[in-house]
Symmetry: C2
Subunit: 206 residues, 2 copies
């Protein structure tokens, strides 16, 4: 869901549409596109349902006197209702959360969720991908001789990509479990995968 991403970004700082787009396509990288044709309608919806409001930043540096700007940047800020809505979206870790498009967004805002949800999503995603690996491997075995080189190479590469992502998920899950363990004096430093999680110490609000 796109609302999710917008609320998640707006939770960190007020922003206008153009910047939202830049951040999002930077954060999600190759995962997701996000065109203006979906962003601005989404902002309109969120605004009309009260999850975000416009945010007039005093005198934004350069506005002469009472000079009213005709159509400048429109900075949005998240409201209390918006935070509530965001928490709903963060909490729901249904089967749709581990689909290709959705997972990236969920993951990008893992810092705002609790460890239970994180683990549930990571494991759901892993299962999803392992199913896919199974399907691909079966298909490869079945049709190996009947396909030309390029099709075969495409399938091989696709399979390898998915397997790699499974391995990535496994590392993440291991880390997640390790940092959740209450006992274990095993963590003065682990060579493995850093995990300097300052970020989650205070929480307090979010």
């Amino acid at each position: 869901m796109l609302q999710f991403a917008v609320l998640g970004l707006l939770h960190d700082a007020p922003m206008h549409g153009y910047e939202l787009r830049k951040r999002l396509s930077s954060v999600l990288g190759a995962f997701r596109a996000l065109s203006y044709g979906s962003l601005y309608p989404c902002l309109r919806n969120l605004h009309s349902e009260g999850s975000i409001v416009e945010d007039e930043p005093a005198e934004p540096r350069g506005t002469r006197a009472g000079e009213l700007r005709k159509r400048g940047r429109i900075v949005y800020r998240i409201t209390a209702e918006g935070k509530e809505r965001l928490n709903e979206l963060l909490a729901e870790a249904g089967p749709s959360s581990w689909e290709d498009e959705t997972f990236g967004v969920h993951f990008a805002f893992f810092g705002q969720t609790d460890a239970e949800t994180r683990l549930r999503i990571l494991e759901g995603r892993r299962i999803r991908l392992e199913e896919r690996v199974g399907g691909l491997r079966a298909g490869l075995g079945r049709t190996r001789e009947r396909l030309d080189t390029y099709t075969l190479e495409l399938q091989r590469h696709g399979l390898e990509s998915v397997e790699r992502e499974v391995r990535w998920l496994n590392e993440l899950i291991a880390t997640e479990r390790a940092t959740r363990r209450p006992f274990a004096a095993l963590s003065p430093e682990r060579p493995h995968h850093d995990t300097t999680r300052q970020k989650e110490a205070p929480d307090g609000e979010h």
Copy 2:
């Protein structure tokens, strides 16, 4: 383009919609979805523009006498116009050919193109991805400290995926160049592009 994929598959053998979908999502694996909502309209378009025709397979085994089937499978076959159209699509290796969605389809049907086109598409794709790598790396360097662990990890993983695909492309390009070399007594027979299109083993089963 979806027409491309349909024509490409139909060029190998006549098929009905359901099978087209299965093949395509098997061939393109995780790359592309292809829902019925786009497949059937596409078949209709191709049919009405004369690129494909229905293919009545005699008495398809199980039809009692004159028993007219209400709505069975509809097998399509590519026509001469369709092959022409397919060749146009195969030849055009414009900047759109190395976009994420399109590249997979093009690659899957590399066997039906010439070596020049293959190389042009592969190299275009590589350039495209290298640009992306540059952008991601720049973004990572710029924001390394300001991001939380998960966002960082997401970007890192995304970058690694793209870099891996660039390496894959490099191998393919190298192979392609090596097999294209005109000297080199390594080609008593050309493995290249066959064209014995007998539509081997006339279906038999679906």
